[in-house]
Amino acid sequence: MNLETPAETTPLALIQGEPLKELPQDLYIPPDALEVFLDTFEGPLDILLYLIKKQNMDILNIPIAEITRQYIKYVELMKEIKLELAAEYLVMAAMLAEIKSRMLLPRSTENLDDDEDPRAELIRRLQEYERFKTAAEDMEQLPRMGRDTFIAQIDHSECQSQVSYPDVSLAEILQAMQEVMKRADMFTHHHVQKEQLSVRERMGLVLEKVNQHNFIDFHTLFSLEEGRAGVVVTFLAILELVKISLIEIVQAEPYRNIHVKAVSQ
């Protein structure tokens, strides 16, 4: 019950119309790993460096015809397995072809010094890339936080972050009030009364003492230690609060205790 495997007759890929039955000889990798392998190249310079290293070529004296042939083989392979092929790979292929053709031209006899080797620019770029590639590899060896070094950081939840507030001077507040009044004057005929701030302050204190649910004794709002002036201020504050209906005063019958209560909500 043997089944014929058609694998042997299926070409790996078609390159320039020719079926490719075998992988290039310098690819010593199983075919299923090919994609991963090609994917790990970081660009055309990276492939070239790989080819140079692999065959122990001298970077300063690259056999351009040979390297071009191998490079193009890789690029075709990448195309075949539909690897996303950046334009840079094709640009490099063109550049290699150009260098190859220029190498074939006879060198001019005059101006020998100026006549640069067509490979010079490529070699410079390869070396330039290689030094950073090496630097990046070296950096892998540096101790890193979280991988090689662990920071000692102990609990500090008890140390509340300090909230510090901006400083404000009284003059700034007065100036702000002056601004408010100036503007208010412009829009309305705001009547600025001469009023005693102590009454306003006391209004707040009285309001705080009374609440909506319980009546409190009128006389408990006064403190005799404050003297006559204090009693007057409190009394004015209570009258003012009654006037703007924030509190109400209740007396059940004449001569009975007077009670104060916040206006019910």
Partner: protein, 180 residues
């Protein structure tokens, strides 16, 4: 190879310091390979030794529900907490004006402040002033929506070294005041 007591103690110390949360004896035991794992007793005794060593230092090892934790000693928090001190910015003009209106018009609702200023008063401003403990809610006005009425606090007076609001100039005086 058995770990020396010193090395065991150092591993426990370093782990407690590096960990993001308290470590139980089990968690500490699990740091070691099975064939090299110290006893529970050895771990506990390392922790105890460390606690003694840190007695006169700036940090301490305490035991909480989920294990041992290293923390800054409470007596140093006054200094250490300065690490996270936020630099104060300046208060906005809107805040200063709101404060001024509350001082002079208390008890006053947000709506009334807006009437005077002619613009909306943001909740953030009211929140800042309440957090700073310069204003407080005195009660609620008996109108639809029951808006809160704000007034100044004792802390406000203390900050500005005032005995009472009376010591502030009157509105009439401010009006004629030649401000800087």
């Amino acid at each position: 190879m058995k770990l020396s007591d010193q090395k065991l103690k150092n591993i426990v110390e370093a782990s407690l310091m590096a960990a993001d949360s308290p470590l139980s004896v089990e968690q500490l035991l699990n740091l070691f390979e099975e064939d090299n794992r110290p006893s529970r007793f050895a771990i506990k005794s390392s922790v105890e030794q460390l606690q003694t060593e840190y007695e006169n230092k700036g940090i301490e090892i305490i035991q909480v529900a989920s294990g041992f934790r290293m923390q800054v000693k409470a007596e140093l928090s006054a200094w250490v907490s300065n690490l996270w001190e936020e630099k104060p910015g300046k208060y906005s003009r809107a805040l200063m004006e709101t404060l001024a209106i509350i001082i002079y018009r208390q008890p006053v609702t947000r709506g009334e402040i807006e009437d005077v200023r002619g613009v909306t008063v943001s909740s953030a401003i009211i929140k800042t002033l309440i957090e700073r403990e310069w204003i407080r809610v005195l009660g609620h006005r008996d109108v639809p929506g029951k808006p809160a009425m704000f007034g100044t606090t004792r802390q406000f007076l203390d900050y500005f070294n005032l005995k009472s609001l009376d010591q502030l100039p009157t509105l009439a005086a401010i009006k004629d005041f030649d401000c800087v």
